[in-house]
């Protein structure tokens, strides 16, 4: 069905644009890709807030793995300190995802808006 194909193509183009946009802002400003990916999935592709955050995490695994590999070549990575923040963070992520299932999607979107305001403030102050 032609309309189905067109819709699928347009969807794929939007995903590609979201990926590229997330990458551009990471490369430009060191802002995490997730802060771009989550709202674009919600506003542009009509994702629910929970699905947007889960899918963004999937993308972040790939993005962070590629980026850290490149940084390792420059000798910028400090594994003991990564473990120091990362191991407690694993516990935090389990708690955060569990908490997310218990609050309304609207609240998740509003919290995310708050995070964007914090990021904007940091960029303006810096």
């Amino acid at each position: 069905m032609p309309t189905g194909d067109t819709a699928a193509t347009s969807r794929m183009l939007k995903l590609a644009a979201i990926g590229t946009a997330g990458g551009i802002f990471s490369g430009l400003l060191g802002v995490g890709g997730g802060s771009v990916i989550v709202p674009l999935l919600i506003v542009w592709l009509g994702y629910g807030a929970r699905e947007a955050t889960g899918t963004s995490m999937m993308a972040i695994v790939v993005i962070a793995a590629v980026a850290v590999t490149l940084q390792a070549f420059y000798g910028n990575v400090d594994p003991p300190n990564a473990a120091l923040v990362g191991i407690p963070a694993i516990g935090g992520a389990i708690a955060g995802t569990a908490l997310q299932q218990r609050i309304p999607e609207r609240s998740i979107a509003l919290l995310f808006a708050g995070l964007l305001v914090v990021i904007a403030a940091k960029l303006i102050i810096s």
Partner: protein
């Protein structure tokens, strides 16, 4: 003492990340820079290493909760490095301050859009015009 503070900020970063679908670098980077004395570049690179396992665990939990569209996530992730390359090249051509202010403006616009959507969805079927 500062290690404990960094670990607590790590936990908080993981929590924010899991809750909002971001890596957690927004807290990992300052934790490493302020409490562990890393330079900005090293703090960002080290934060990325911490993000990989944290994001993997978050994906595992979200898969169980049924909130991951795996293929979409992989497409976005696979294309991001192209964007990163464009971003790095651009950031060397345009004044950093202009970029920061542009992105701050965009972030505020998107935040406003999220708030408007959330409020629209929460509207009751019978609109209240009393305000």
């Amino acid at each position: 003492m500062s290690s404990i503070a960094a670990a607590i900020m790590g936990f908080a970063g993981g929590m924010v990340g899991g809750l909002l679908g971001v890596g957690g670098g927004v807290l990992f980077v300052p934790a490493l820079a302020i409490f562990m004395g890393e330079t900005q570049v090293r703090a960002e690179a080290t934060s990325l290493l911490a993000i990989v396992p944290v994001a993997m665990v978050a994906v595992w939990r979200q898969l169980d909760y049924g909130n991951v569209r795996v293929r979409d996530g992989l497409v976005i992730g696979a294309l991001s490095p192209i964007g990163v390359a464009i971003g790095v090249v651009t950031s060397n051509a345009i004044p950093q301050r202009a970029l920061e202010l542009t992105f701050a403006g965009l972030a505020l616009l998107i935040a406003a859009q999220l708030v408007i959507r959330a409020l629209r969805e929460s509207k009751t079927p019978t609109p209240d015009y009393s305000d």
